[in-house]
Symmetry: C2
Subunit: 81 residues, 2 copies
Amino acid sequence: MKARIRITLKNGVLDPQGKAIQNALSGLGFKGVEEVRQGKYIEVDLAATDEAAARAEVEKMCQELLANTVIEDYAFELSAR
Amino acid sequence: MKARIRITLKNGVLDPQGKAIQNALSGLGFKGVEEVRQGKYIEVDLAATDEAAARAEVEKMCQELLANTVIEDYAFELSAR
């Protein structure tokens, strides 16, 4: 299965990269950009074919390595490859 | 509207960050991780409420600033906030 993981900063955590992107967009003439937040996107190809097992495994990966759960949230979807 | 943009390296472009994550996962005892690719995830809050206009604007942002289209692909979804 393939897991598509999005890792984002929690609300309230400062995001200078997002701010820099917002300023650059505004400098390029894009109007009406109210907020930009940057996060990480990770695709993991798993040998597991059972969805429940894959979900538990990806959850554990996020907790142990991929996300810093003090300041980051994560969410993921699973799909067949 | 809110745009959720995923920017990923094109197939065939080396991804050392993804490889490092894969090695770390394997070091932590996760079996059956066949490939890991790291990308960027950007959330943009737009004042626009018209979906077609918002889609055109985000497409332009990706082309002009957010993605390096020589080596990166992008995809996005729009939703009400």
